[in-house]
Symmetry: C3
Subunit: 352 residues, 3 copies
Amino acid sequence: MFLKNCWYVAGWDHELIDGKLLSRMLLNENVLLYRGESGKVVAMNDRCPHRGALLSQGRLEGDAVRCMYHGIKFDGAGKCVQIPGQDLIPPKMRVRTYPVHEAGHLVWIWMGDPAKANVSEIVDFPYLRDPAWKGLPGYLHYDANYVLDNLSDLAHLAFVHTKTLGGSEEYAYVTKPAVIEKLERGYRLERWHMNIDPPPFHKKVISNKYEKVDRRNRVNMFIPGIFYMETIFAPAGQGAEKGVAVPGTREYRNCQFMTPETDRTTHFFWAYLNNFEGDDTTISRSLLDSLLEGFMEDKAIIEHQQQTLDDDPGFEKQMLAIIADAPLVHFRRTLGKLIDAEQAPAGTAIAN
Amino acid sequence: MFLKNCWYVAGWDHELIDGKLLSRMLLNENVLLYRGESGKVVAMNDRCPHRGALLSQGRLEGDAVRCMYHGIKFDGAGKCVQIPGQDLIPPKMRVRTYPVHEAGHLVWIWMGDPAKANVSEIVDFPYLRDPAWKGLPGYLHYDANYVLDNLSDLAHLAFVHTKTLGGSEEYAYVTKPAVIEKLERGYRLERWHMNIDPPPFHKKVISNKYEKVDRRNRVNMFIPGIFYMETIFAPAGQGAEKGVAVPGTREYRNCQFMTPETDRTTHFFWAYLNNFEGDDTTISRSLLDSLLEGFMEDKAIIEHQQQTLDDDPGFEKQMLAIIADAPLVHFRRTLGKLIDAEQAPAGTAIAN
Amino acid sequence: MFLKNCWYVAGWDHELIDGKLLSRMLLNENVLLYRGESGKVVAMNDRCPHRGALLSQGRLEGDAVRCMYHGIKFDGAGKCVQIPGQDLIPPKMRVRTYPVHEAGHLVWIWMGDPAKANVSEIVDFPYLRDPAWKGLPGYLHYDANYVLDNLSDLAHLAFVHTKTLGGSEEYAYVTKPAVIEKLERGYRLERWHMNIDPPPFHKKVISNKYEKVDRRNRVNMFIPGIFYMETIFAPAGQGAEKGVAVPGTREYRNCQFMTPETDRTTHFFWAYLNNFEGDDTTISRSLLDSLLEGFMEDKAIIEHQQQTLDDDPGFEKQMLAIIADAPLVHFRRTLGKLIDAEQAPAGTAIAN
């Protein structure tokens, strides 16, 4: 069960170069994505309505695509414009298309009721199009449902990512209680870790590797699976936590997008940006590697979690919460209510 | 749901040489096929009735087979003739056998009620045993239901097989309307393509490669999945379509047999014969390769089609027909009626 | 459906050296097995009750284990003793543990009601801890239910193991009728094969390879899947079958343990011991190899049998018994009654 009436990330813009007919399953639907010769991005159901052949195995002709089974051609709005050997085109011969929107190297898609698609509802992440912030686009595939929890769960940093993104197990014991602000469609969270060694991923890209730092992660998480984080590492003990702009502070901007492929698999798009690499492109490359290393640690855990739930679906309701789970619980409850409302027959009142 | 009371091709005769115990699933049943020492071909259920071991892992003894789990032996009629260490043989200890018939290098099998098996119902293809016609036996396995459509669908030649069996996309636009004659258990169809370059598979085996030709495909398709085609390539513009016997014409005879393995997999046997190779056996070999290449193009498409239907079984009823689908529609309807009649309880009237 | 209130073999003791956190599915439950620093063996459910991570991917700390997802720690009794960043530990935060018992290099586990676990019910096999008997521990995994029959079925020796453990097909025809003594929880069986060549596995480890022998297999089979066999090979014709202690007799002691992993997969532990190798350790190694070779022959057959039953579950009730199946039929009936009794609501009378 997915929330349909919202924007999801369907891909990075660089995936649609050179007339590529990209087939990608999104929310259990096979979607064909391509950039037509006019430059417009098209998303349509990847199935010819005649005999079900993959349109992504077809041929791009201008902004249209031709099925290469019997040669039937559809324009960028999904309308059939040619059936070889037949003059009359039945009006029902058409393919569903989906609203799309490009912004900041991302291709967003709306899988629900097209009449409700409103581009202004996309939560902007301006750093992706700001030349001051550098970074490489990332992608991973998870064999797990897209709301499996560790995006909303800074506590796991300590034990899962000790040697990559976290840095020490102490993080789980001593970090200041998180600020948690519940939002209508997500939450805001802040967590400080004071006077620590730089964690491995950060240490690799800085010169003063043995200076203690104060670390702050500020997270904004939004429905359906959008995670924006602003991280700073300030030289320790100089008041960064009180708002002092400490010289030598390093900053990162991180966006992560979880888009369901199926009920139990997920597309994961992300970028981890810095504003200090200057001309040294090895910093972006190192951060890409480090984040990938960390996400592979997550992948192992959440894919096993999915397997556990597949084997014993009843376990989901038996899981025992700990205090650190609060943001996650809020996020799941909020998402659940929205899905229930969307699924409810028109006119039904949803209890809050 | 298969039609049971009809003849299917179970294999080529060369598959049963040297006492081979061939295990082949046909219509969801594991069948053991072998040629006994007397020369007789036997088809029996490939499961020992004692503890279920594979008889095809057993040992051929004359016309009998011995299970190599506990040594129980069955004759070619499926009757148990020995249980080691036990004198009395219970009459129930026997294996089901199936009527078989050999003709023209083919082994035909009847999977339905043995009392209804009538060899005269096999539709003959005399070219397979005529020394004037040369060609090599072919086999492919499809991960798709055996009535998936492209056998009945000459229109797909243009786009799927452009570079192999078809030759040009024009075929879909300009060929004369097909003659379609509906038969009680199939159809007859004819299609001409005038004044064209020889398609690639034909061009490879002729000397005058740049002479335009008129192509005629004449198809006979029969229940349950038997396709016979007579093809001519005549030098263009000399009246072949009016029945003129044009010198330099090349002819082919093609038989194809689709036998269901399971509900979603198919055995595909075929041969593509010519009468002009003389002593040049490279022509048969080239045609075998060319046809295989073309059928691999089909395989990719129909296996995806099967996947599409597996993922969304409702799509089968939503498919939108085009005019070129007419023979296919007739064939499916005819087959469907026969299956319904066979499945109906005795005494039930079937509406036509 | 498994018998729960009984002892199963969970593993060999050597599998738990060096602090290994061994994850093993037993009776459809993921079990974590380890030896704590105190030397005590612990078996607990391999799933953190917080978010389901594998405890076997955690860290051994003394006799306790720490989940490496969020750092929650459980002692050897399954009690939660630490949640990082949280003072109060909810009493429900605990993991199920299972009674275990070590004896003769085996780790036994009780998967049923812990209150009913009674170590004295374990059927002893003293040879495993007797230094006079030598042999190496074996393990195989079967993709088949653990009661598939060939343990209880000496008849299959003749045809399946002709060239390994059996020696000749004659075994099935001429061996003396087996002594079969039905026991409350199993059976005892004895079978003699007189005046034969030594079978291949035995021939490899003796010097007088061409002397005829009398072979006796004496089997004790117990619920749930415990097989103990005492085998002798005596020089032929000197009265071994009448109890004469014939000089030159060679003896073996063989234990086999079938433990269900899932409904259709099995852990198989075994050892084949001899008392004559002296300092020649190649004899144990040769016997390990020979038995493995024989069990691989079984594996091929019973895995296919499982496949046959998966494809056609109704076949289980249609199988036709032969006389040699008697012990097997008794064992299955006895086990079935115990399972029914265990599954029955308290107070229900079970018909015998």
